[in-house]
Each structure stands twice: as C-alpha cells, then as structure tokens.
C-alpha cells in the first residue's frame, strides 16, 4: 500500500496494531485490536479518539467571501456568526452534491471549509467556476494540519484539563461552534503546554465531542496525551468502521454514498437546505432551480429488527412486492436493540436494567416514493430478504448537544 497517502499518525496506528486499509487513497485504520464493536460502544458510553487528518481544510479569502459562499453552499450562512459553524452541501447547477462541508467564518474576509478526503482540488476547481469564485484566494491546507476527533459523552471531561484557560474556553461552547483559528500562528486557543489548536464542537458520531485541528508536528504527542488523559473514562482509539456505524446510527450522511450525483432533496437532511417555516427557500443558491423542479427519489433512514445485513451492492428495496429502490448504507449499530418492539439505546434514559443490546441493522435507502415512518419494507439480496422499517431517527439518547459538564 506504498502509493497511498499517509497521515502524520500512520506510524502510530501501525504501532498500536491498527488494521490499515485503503480509504479513498489514504492508508487509514479500519479498527484497532479492541475491534469495531468495542470502539462503537466506547464512543456511545465513554469516548473514542479518531485520526481524521485525511480530511481537507480549504481557506477562502477575499472581499465578499460570505456572500459568495452563501450562494455556493446550501446552508443559509448569511447571518452565521463568527465562531459558529454550519453544515451545508456544495451543489452543482443540477442540484447534485459535489461534496458536503462545514463552513467556518473566521472573519468577514476569511472563511474555512472542511470537506472530505481528497476533495480539496475538486472543490476549489468547482468554486472557481461559480460566479465570483475566481476573485477569491483559495488555499488547500491538506498536509499542513492534523485533525483528531475526540468523541463521546466523556470527551469534555477528558479534554478540559489539557486546554489552557479551560474555564473560559469552554464557558460558552454550544454544538456547532468553534474556538480558535486554522492559522496556527494566529490561533488564541492553546493546550497547557502551549500547542496551538482550533477546537470545533462538531463531529461525525452523533455524540458529544470535538474535532481538533493542530500542527502536524504536534499530532503524535497530542494523540498520546489525550489517550493518557482518557484512560479512566474508557477512551480508546477508534477506526473508520466504528466511525461509519456511529454516523449511520446518528442519521448522518456519508458523502459520495448517501449524497452524490442526484438532486439533494427529499432526504433526512433538510437542515442542510435553507428552508423557511413554510418549506420555501430563504435565499438564492447554486442548484436551487434544479431542486425546485426536481421530482427526485426519496432518501429515507431505516432500522431493522436484528443485526443481520444484506450486501448493499447487489440489493434492492422491496415494498408491496415491487422493487422500489436501492440501498445506500447498511450497517449494524451495536449500541441499540429492541425492547418490546421499541428501539432502545445504551444511552436511552428509559433503558431496562442490564440492557445488553445485540445491535440493529440500519442505514439509508433511496426509493421512488415517500414512505411514512413505521412503513415496513424489505431489503433483498441474493441471499436473503430482510424486514426493516422506515424511521425518523435511529440511535436514541445521543449526546451531541449535551451540556458541557
């Protein structure tokens, strides 16, 4: 796998016994010796540490950058405050997703976008073609910054003692906000040892946590320090398999799998679109006309009745004896189970005593019609036909928005 890109923590993953695989051209850990199930459960009940340095940070600078990005990204960021972050989709004129992103306004002439691995050049090229995009300065920071995600209900307790002036830093720090700057020479946020960083209260697991950006040369030291600080909280390093099952249980899309070359509409992510209370768009944006006209398929979350899965590549969705669509994501969320028919999670306040879930199959389907939550459909591959139901939410009791205490 020598032709793959490697993050600065690649040697650490190998030394920790990580199973390394090719992920979009990057050699990344799929899981560590503790295994994907324990890693998934650790993030739901304690905390997990992820190397996501393969992701891409792009800087967009120049006069009018806010107005430009408010056109180029679906989220209405017209009034997104400095220090707040917004999740949106970068659409083309057909209303189809180029990639998803988190937008970080740093000041009125300087915004950052965090997009997916290997997407830096593609996104910048796309942006330069959008009217006004060629007047901004675009910088791909891939390889300049490390990104480490600390996720799970214990994340704040683990991180707090490591951060300088923590009482002040964490005093007002709601979900989808950030502290610091992507320019490590400028950022005001530091570890107690002086290491500069940007802290973003975001993540891809549905659980409380932070995405932490820091200089690559400090990544290994920080990784070790956090693992040490989290020992008593059940913190373990986690790989991409756990990340995938956690995000699916949190009803979050995987770019280029759950969103992609079809109109970004009729899906479980309306909060990424600029809808007003009446379901009209609040602003003009790239792809808007196509979305208004789209008679697109419906992307719907589902949850099953046991952990069994089908092979997503060869499968169909069957409803009322008709094939009505395909499966985008199918994984097992091992932190949930059914109690008297109802989906209960390890973090559900109403879970029964001694609750020990066996996991449930869940994910997303793309079908030719709207189906109400509770509708039963079948996932069919060459081997089996699996009964699942359309749902609104998957893993109950998620902590992403919990108070920092």
């Amino acid at each position: 796998m020598s032709n793959l890109s490697k993050t600065v923590l690649n040697g650490v993953h190998a030394a920790m016994g990580g199973t390394l695989v090719d992920f979009g051209g990057w050699e990344m850990p799929l899981w560590y010796p503790s295994g994907a199930v324990k890693e998934h459960l650790a993030v739901v009940t304690g905390a997990g540490l992820f190397d996501t340095s393969h992701m891409t940070v792009i800087l967009a600078e120049g006069a009018g950058v806010r107005a430009f990005l408010n056109y180029a990204v679906t989220k209405d960021i017209g009034s997104l405050a400095i220090g707040r972050a917004g999740y949106g989709i970068i659409l083309d004129e057909k209303g189809e997703a180029v990639d998803d992103c988190i937008v970080y306004p740093l000041n009125e002439e300087r915004f950052a976008l965090v997009v997916n691995a290997g997407m830096g050049a593609v996104v910048i090229e796309h942006m330069k073609k959008v009217t006004g995009g060629d007047k901004l300065a675009w910088t791909d920071l891939t390889g300049k910054l490390a990104k480490i995600d600390l996720q799970g209900p214990a994340a704040f307790k683990i991180l707090k003692p490591l951060v300088a002036g923590a009482d002040e830093v964490f005093a007002k720090f709601p979900y989808f906000s950030f502290k610091g700057d992507f320019d490590m020479a400028k950022t005001a946020i530091k570890l107690t040892d002086g290491t500069p960083l940007l802290l973003s209260r975001t993540g891809y697991t549905g659980e409380l946590g932070f995405e932490i950006f820091l200089p690559v040369e400090k990544a290994e030291e920080f990784w070790g320090k956090v693992l040490e600080a989290g020992k008593d909280y059940g913190l373990i390093p986690c790989g991409l398999a756990a990340r995938d099952s956690l995000r699916a249980g949190a009803v979050l899309p995987l770019s280029h799998q759950d969103i992609g070359h079809w109109p970004f509409i009729n899906n479980p992510w309306p909060w990424a679109l600029p809808f007003d209370a009446e379901g009209k768009f609040t602003k003009n944006f790239m792809g808007r006309e196509a979305l208004n006209a789209a008679t697109a398929d419906h992307t719907l979350p589902f949850v099953g009745f046991d952990p069994r899965k089908v092979d997503a590549h060869e499968s169909k969705v069957v409803y009322d004896d008709q094939e009505i669509g395909t499966i985008l994501t199918v994984v097992a969320d091992m932190a949930i189970g059914r109690v008297e028919g109802k989906v209960v999670g390890l973090s559900s306040p109403d879970k029964p005593e001694g609750f020990n879930p066996k996991g449930l199959v869940c994910g997303f389907i793309k079908v030719d019609r709207k189906l109400e939550p509770g509708t039963v459909v079948f996932l069919k591959d060459a081997r089996r036909q699996l009964k699942v139901e359309i749902c609104e939410d998957i893993r109950p009791g998620r902590t992403a928005r919990a108070k920092l205490v």
């Binding site: 199973t19 994907a36 199930v37 324990k38 069994r308 092979d311 994984v331 091992m334 081997r383």
Partner: protein, 136 residues
C-alpha cells in the same frame, strides 16, 4: 491485522482454502481460522444452518457478519449438520476470541471421512495464507 507469525494455527485441525477449519474425529466440528476472524474483524452476527441440513463441499452454509460486511461460510466437507453452536446467537464475538474452541460453528456427520485427508494441514495452510497475503 495480525502478522503471519502471530496467527494461531493449531495442528490438530485441517484447513480449506476458504479459511474454514475441520476437526477430525466424531463429532467433527467446523469453524473459521484465526486468520479469517482477524481479517473479518468483530463479528456481530453468525447465521447458521438448521440441524439436519446437508452441507456440500464448496457451497455456502451460513454467513458471518461484521458491523459493515456480510461474508459467506463455505463448507469444507460434505455432511449432515448434527449440532450448531447456539452460544454464537448471544455472543458472536466467541468466534473472534476463541476461533478453534468456544467459537466453533457447526458439528457435522461426514459423508466420507476420507474427505478430511484432502484438506490442508497447518503448515500447508500457513503457506496458503502467506501466498494469498502476498497477492493483495
């Protein structure tokens, strides 16, 4: 992922190219090798045949599932299932933790006991794994 020299490959069972093992004698048990469980990762579900089912060498008789994948179990022999490991319904992770012991999958009555002799011994299987790993 385990290095080749870290694999537990006991010499009292025989192996097939699809990474199942068979224990000679009666009852004859079938499971998956340490290499297979390590490559699949944590198992979340094991689908097993019914007692009484007829297995055919080289054909699928169940599945092993991780959080992300579904993999077929291929029978290394012809025979009839006399027992399945019910403990795996509650704890599929037994296959990961003890692949040759508590993580056995089915017990079979062989159609032809001589079929076992056509399978690989530990040394031949190790060479097979080595060759497969080198090709990837």
């Amino acid at each position: 992922m385990k290095e080749l020299n870290e694999l537990n490959l006991p010499t009292n069972v025989k192996y097939d190219a699809d990474h199942e093992w068979v224990s000679p004698g009666a009852p004859c048990r079938i499971g998956i090798s340490d290499f297979a469980q390590d490559a699949l990762g944590d198992l979340t579900f094991v689908e097993m045949p019914e007692v009484g089912a007829e297995l055919t060498k080289g054909e699928e008789f169940g599945t092993l599932e991780s959080t992300k994948s579904v993999s077929p179990l291929m029978s290394p022999v012809d025979g009839k299932v006399t027992a399945v490991n019910e403990a795996l319904s509650d704890d599929p992770g037994l296959v990961n933790r003890d692949p040759y012991g508590e993580g056995w999958i089915v017990e079979v009555e062989l159609k032809n006991t001589a079929q076992i002799d056509t399978l690989m011994d530990a040394a031949a299987y190790k060479a097979h794994v080595e060759k497969e790993s080198a090709e990837h």
